[in-house]
Every structure is written in structure tokens, then in C-alpha cells.
Symmetry: C2
Subunit: 173 residues, 2 copies
């Protein structure tokens, strides 16, 4: 049994499936997933950086994110064999607390709320593995970081990488 | 430099200073701090256990807790020498997220929000020290637990104990 910390956005929550259409609608843009390869929307539209951050920071932004494909089924099975924690950098968007908590209750009811962590820096996380799309969380993590592929990290090397939840199942089930 | 995780309630927030008068007013009781030696209010009034939990769980309960004596000054100095995280078991009371976050911003503005952790079980915390009033958080903590004296833990032995923030200053400053 391993202790596995799992990020939310772009790992179990399909952030971009909501974010890209929301950005396009609000700011009259034609952003696609391909535009985000190796970058972030705030870098594609630097003049909108603060407004984009404000949009994500709205209280209900995270309330209705689609679930990442296969994440429910695989994580439910993993929870039978491993100790699963959800570790999300919620402190960047303090208004998102309730939306994130309720979203987890709705879509991942098998995760005990006692195993949910809202944090900032993830250096504070004590786990064997951290599945995350942001390599910045791996630098001082004492376990093994597993990089979940997202457009912004697609060109990064030097980390164990998984492209989807079936690949996570192959490692942990 | 050590990484020190610090609990909120009954460590930097004087929970009982609000809780006891609030309980007495709402339920027409005469509870005092002395009644809570070695126990919790839910055990003193088992017939009120759920109602007490509901009261604490109200969205604004944690909004106006008094600050624990000397905690601001000592922690501000400690933050110059150590890496300080605030780690609070907020998942028990999900409606408290905003009140707790805002309270920290108000009274401990020198704590970077990136160093705030809302969690359930604290086994997930990776730190050298954990200053907490609940020994249950020490059992699987791999650093050293330091028990901050509170009425409910007053009779417990087997842990390094501090009775106030001056004693914490003596250890870490």
C-alpha cells in the first residue's frame, strides 16, 4: 500500500474543457488546446492575464468542471489498495474552497473528506507519490512526482509521465 | 532553519474564549474552562453533541476568535528564522474555510497564503515539528509533535508540552 497524493485541476478535473470556452466567450477569443502547448493562457494573452486570473478566481468557476476521463473508476479502485489524498493548490483562489470541496463530494464520494488537502506549496505534502500536472510541486517533494500530461507541460522532460488514467491504473493497480 | 507546522484552534486562535460563552448563551448552560479539563463539551453535554457541532460548523463561527496571547509576536519572529506553515483540520467544518482564511489574513498577515494548509488528517503533513493541541495528529506524524496545552489535553502525558507561546519562543528563537 502506498500513499498517493492526487492533484485536482488537469488531473481529475478537466479544467481546460471549461476554461477554454469560458475564456473565448468572455474575451471574444479563439483559443484552442493546441495554443496552450508549452504555455499558459496568461502568456498567450498577457494583456488579459489579470482578468483571466479573476475569472478563475470567481467563487463558482470550479463548481462544474467536467471529470477527467476514467479518473473516477481508476481512483475508486486505487482507493481499495492505496491511501489516496486529494491535494490541490486552492490557496491561490480562496473563493474556490466550497466549489472544490462540493465537487469532490459529488464526483469522488469515496474520498474521505479527512483525506482532502487545500494547500499552497505542496512541499508540505508527505506522500510516496504525487500525481500532478505542475512540475513546480515536484522540486522539494520527497516522494516521487508523476507528471500528468497537460498542454502546458507537454514539452517538459525529466519526469515520469502519464498521459491518462489508464496509464495510472497500469502503475498502481 | 526548521519547518514548523502550527495548528490554529486552541494554539493561535483562542477557540474556548468564544466557544464557552457562545455555548452557554445558546443552550442556557454554565460551562467553564475548568469543566473542560480532560474532556470536551460534547462529552459534558452528550445530549447536545450534534447541536454543538452544528454551532461550530456555522460559516462565521471561526471569523472572530480572539488571538492566543503572544502568538502573533512570537510567530512573526519565528517566521524570520524558520519555515512556518499553518495546518488546520478545516475539513471537519467545510463552511469554515473562508472565515479561517480571512482570520489568518487579518491577524497573521506575515504568513504567506501558500503556507496555509486546510486538511483533515495531519498524517499528510511533512514538517520537522507540529505544534498542536490534539495528540491524535502526532501518532503517524514523522516529525516531532509538540503538545500545546488546552483544557482537554491537560492530563495527557508522553509528549513534549508547551503551555504558552513564551515557551514556544524558548524552543525556537
Amino acid at each position: 500500500m502506498a500513499r498517493i497524493a492526487v492533484d485536482m485541476d488537469e488531473v481529475i478535473a478537466d479544467f481546460n474543457a471549461k476554461f477554454i470556452p469560458a475564456l473565448n466567450a468572455r474575451f471574444n477569443k479563439q483559443l484552442t488546446l493546441a495554443h496552450l502547448h508549452g504555455t499558459k493562457a496568461e502568456q498567450v494573452f498577457p494583456e488579459l492575464a489579470q482578468k483571466i486570473k479573476d475569472m478563475i478566481g470567481e467563487a463558482d468557476f470550479f463548481a462544474d468542471l467536467p471529470v477527467m476521463q476514467d479518473s473516477q473508476e481508476v481512483l475508486a479502485q486505487m482507493a481499495n489498495q492505496h491511501e489516496i489524498f486529494i491535494t490541490t493548490a486552492a490557496m491561490e483562489f480562496p473563493l474556490s474552497f466550497h466549489a472544490k470541496f462540493n465537487w469532490l463530494q459529488q464526483y469522488f464520494p469515496f474520498i474521505d473528506p479527512m483525506n482532502i488537502v487545500f494547500c499552497g506549496t505542496k512541499t508540505i505534502i508527505h506522500a510516496d507519490y504525487l500525481i500532478d500536472d505542475n512540475i513546480r510541486h515536484f522540486s522539494r517533494f520527497q516522494g516521487e512526482g508523476i507528471l500528468f500530461t497537460a498542454p502546458h507541460n507537454i514539452a517538459l522532460e525529466g519526469f515520469r509521465r502519464v498521459n491518462n488514467w489508464q496509464e495510472i491504473a497500469e502503475i498502481f493497480l
